[in-house]
């Protein structure tokens, strides 16, 4: 309360007047576009359409494209549990279908559920201990894990992530890059010899080159 009566109002109006002549931040969007840094991509958020349905198709394209894995996807499955990365990228398409059906209100069978079966981590713990729980040896850890289980079960990757402290996304990134690492149980029980995953591609290149040149095919 001011001692002079009416002074409060005068002060208030003063502020209003000053603001009245000050430059405005408001722009007439969308006729006028905001001036932002060229690399600005907006806030990462999921949007809803006019019916209130989530616009995200869960196509995983953004997570797959993001080179530094700062985009990732998680969600609640039909049993109410939260997961990040529901498995290998090969299944993204499948899950996209599934989620579209689910959003339509129909129930879908939870095909992904068995992927998260816990694995027996006894052997894995030994592998981790041998490498001193060091994320720097991740490739060797993953190779040995695959030798142990025949493939890389999601449960094992999660365990490695929890124990070594390496982000799940970066372990997953490493594991998806190298051709000899895989996420599905092999068709046969035995683990193929080193290099077989890549060898077929190299062989295709060699025979393709020979065919292009018109040379007789080589033995290997």
């Amino acid at each position: 309360m001011s001692l002079v009566p009416g002074m409060g109002i005068v002060r208030g109006m003063g502020l209003t007047l000053r603001r009245f002549f000050a430059p405005k931040a408001t722009i007439k969007w969308p006729e006028q576009q905001a001036d932002v840094a060229p690399k600005f991509r907006g806030r990462l958020q999921l949007l809803y359409d006019e019916y209130g349905t989530l616009k995200c198709e869960t196509c995983f394209q953004c997570a797959q494209a993001c080179p530094i894995e700062c985009i990732d996807m998680g969600g609640i499955d039909t049993k109410g549990r939260f997961h990040v990365h529901w498995g290998p990228p090969e299944t993204y398409g499948e899950r996209r279908e599934e989620s579209a059906v689910r959003r339509s209100g129909r129930t879908v069978p939870d095909a992904t559920f068995p992927r998260f079966d816990p694995v027996d981590t006894g052997a894995l713990d030994e592998i981790l201990e041998r490498h001193d729980y060091d994320p720097k040896a991740m490739l060797a850890i993953l190779e040995e894990t695959q030798a142990e289980y025949g493939y890389l079960p999601v449960g094992a990757l999660k365990h490695i992530s929890r124990i070594t402290g390496a982000w799940y996304a970066s372990i997953y990134g490493t594991a998806t890059y190298y051709r000899h690492l895989r996420f599905e149980p092999p068709a046969t029980a035995s683990v193929p010899a080193a290099g077989t995953a890549h060898a077929a591609i190299e062989q295709r290149y060699r025979s393709g080159l020979d065919a292009s040149l018109g040379y007789p095919r080589r033995a290997s």
Partner: protein
């Protein structure tokens, strides 16, 4: 003759000189020492010292055999001058090109020259850790190298006390596998760190920030294998071999219609000579030389006089690359060949950047529609523009080089491309469903 093709007597053998003597018993240390192994190391440790060794390598003019031809002495000096508690030397023996076996063949014939070379490199730059990266599928080679390192360590050539000098150099053999891009140095370092194999922005170069963030020298196997010879025989003797700007020898993987094999050749040898070494051209006529592997350039017959060395090849739109030379005769179609090579490069690109992920794929798609008879009138311009953009915006060498098959093809075989584009014919009769050209006899392939 063994694993290597016979070359003229006056061509010096820097890399494979000992291979014949070791034939059948490559893992025999005593035999290797009797044939001069570890003399270079002794000279480096006893007479030259680290700075003297780097100076010798620099004055010999040795350039990296991994493809880019970077001066090795300069690389070593950069790493040595970088203040750090730990430095690394990595021998790149991955051999990414699927049709090239030069590095592995050299190692299998004589593992000692690399073991000695990498020890000299580690000594020179002050690294205590040295890593030999080779392909995991070459299990016999991995075993041979591990045995060689162990034997050399027991004999005191490396390990805790190199030749009684007090220097420590630990050499480890690391098998890697699973992707073409592992040959690229920053990708190889990523694999050794247990990360996903995508290239890093350079600079900072590995000599500044490499393996685990420490100064690292990544050298091709042949680069390191040349070091013992040049220390032993002197920088002048090495500089006298081959061409002035690129002295020394290199292994080439030759393939032609009449023969194939690996040969050690002095750099600067004319391409025509190498074609002869590959068994000549046979009854047909030479159409093109693919120089540099999957990302190589396609050179026409009138460039056969070009010397096989870094700068001259760059100038004509090819590169040493993986050290492969493929001779194509008149059965080959340039568009078809370039399309195949670009597809391989696009498939193997890591996907980190847009030119890598999308640019190469589009380049292949344009080439593919030219070859399959559904080109658009603007395709030649489009390809040129796209190749230019990829080169300008690529992150790693792979994308930039992967444009070479098409750019060199367009530069030297433009009329053949125009036949596809404008007249819907393939002169070589390779591409379908384009009408078979008049020159080609059906069923000749």
């Amino acid at each position: 003759m063994g694993a290597f093709l016979k070359t003229p007597k006056e061509w010096p053998l820097v890399l494979t000189g000992r291979a014949a003597a070791l034939s059948g018993s490559a893992g025999d240390l005593d035999l290797a020492v009797r044939n001069g192994a570890f003399e270079g190391l002794r000279r480096a440790v006893r007479d030259l010292g680290p700075t003297g060794t780097i100076a010798t390598v620099a004055s010999s003019g040795l350039r990296g055999r991994g493809g880019a031809g970077f001066p090795t002495g300069e690389k070593w000096r950069a790493a040595a001058n970088q203040p750090a508690g730990q430095r690394y030397v990595v021998a790149n023996g991955y051999g990414a090109d699927p049709s090239v076996r030069t590095d592995a063949t050299l190692l299998a014939a004589d593992p000692w020259t690399l073991v000695e070379g990498i020890t000299i490199a580690a000594f020179a730059i002050g690294a205590t850790e040295a890593i030999v990266a080779v392909r995991a599928e070459d299990t016999a080679l991995v075993t041979l190298l591990e045995g060689a390192v162990l034997a050399a360590e027991e004999a005191g050539f490396l390990g805790d006390d190199v030749l009684g000098s007090g220097y420590r150099v630990t050499v480890t053999v690391r098998p890697v596998q699973g992707a073409y891009m592992l040959g690229e140095e920053t990708v190889l370092l990523k694999a050794l760190e247990g990360k996903r194999g995508q290239p890093e922005q350079r600079p900072p170069y590995p000599t500044e920030r490499g393996l685990f963030g420490r100064p690292t020298v990544v050298n091709n196997v042949q680069t390191l294998a040349a070091v013992p010879w040049l220390i032993r025989e002197g920088a002048q003797a090495f500089a006298a071999i081959g061409s002035k700007a690129s002295p020394g020898t290199a292994l080439v993987q030759l393939r032609g219609p009449a023969g194939a094999g690996i040969a050690e050749v002095p750099l600067g040898t004319p391409l025509a000579e190498l074609v002869r070494l590959a068994g000549g051209i046979g009854k047909r006529s030479l159409k093109a030389l693919l120089v540099g592997g999957p990302t190589g350039g396609l050179l026409p017959a009138d460039l056969l006089a070009t010397p096989y060395e870094f700068d001259a090849l760059r100038e004509v739109g090819a590169h040493i690359g993986s050290g492969s030379i493929v001779v194509a005769d008149d059965r080959a179609c340039i568009v078809d060949l370039a399309r195949l090579l670009t597809k391989f490069s696009a498939d193997e690109a890591c996907g980190k950047t847009i030119p890598c992920r999308i640019g190469l794929r589009r380049l292949y798609e344009i080439g593919d529609r030219v070859a399959t008879g559904t080109p658009k009138p603007t395709d030649a311009v489009l390809m040129e523009d796209l190749a230019h953009d990829i080169v300008a915006s690529g992150l790693c060498e792979h994308e930039r080089l992967a444009t070479l098959p098409f750019t060199s093809g367009m530069r030297y075989f433009r009329s053949e491309l125009d036949d596809h584009l404008l007249r819907s014919t393939c002169p070589a009769g390779v591409c379908h469903p384009i009408a078979v050209g008049a020159a080609a006899t059906p069923g000749s392939r």
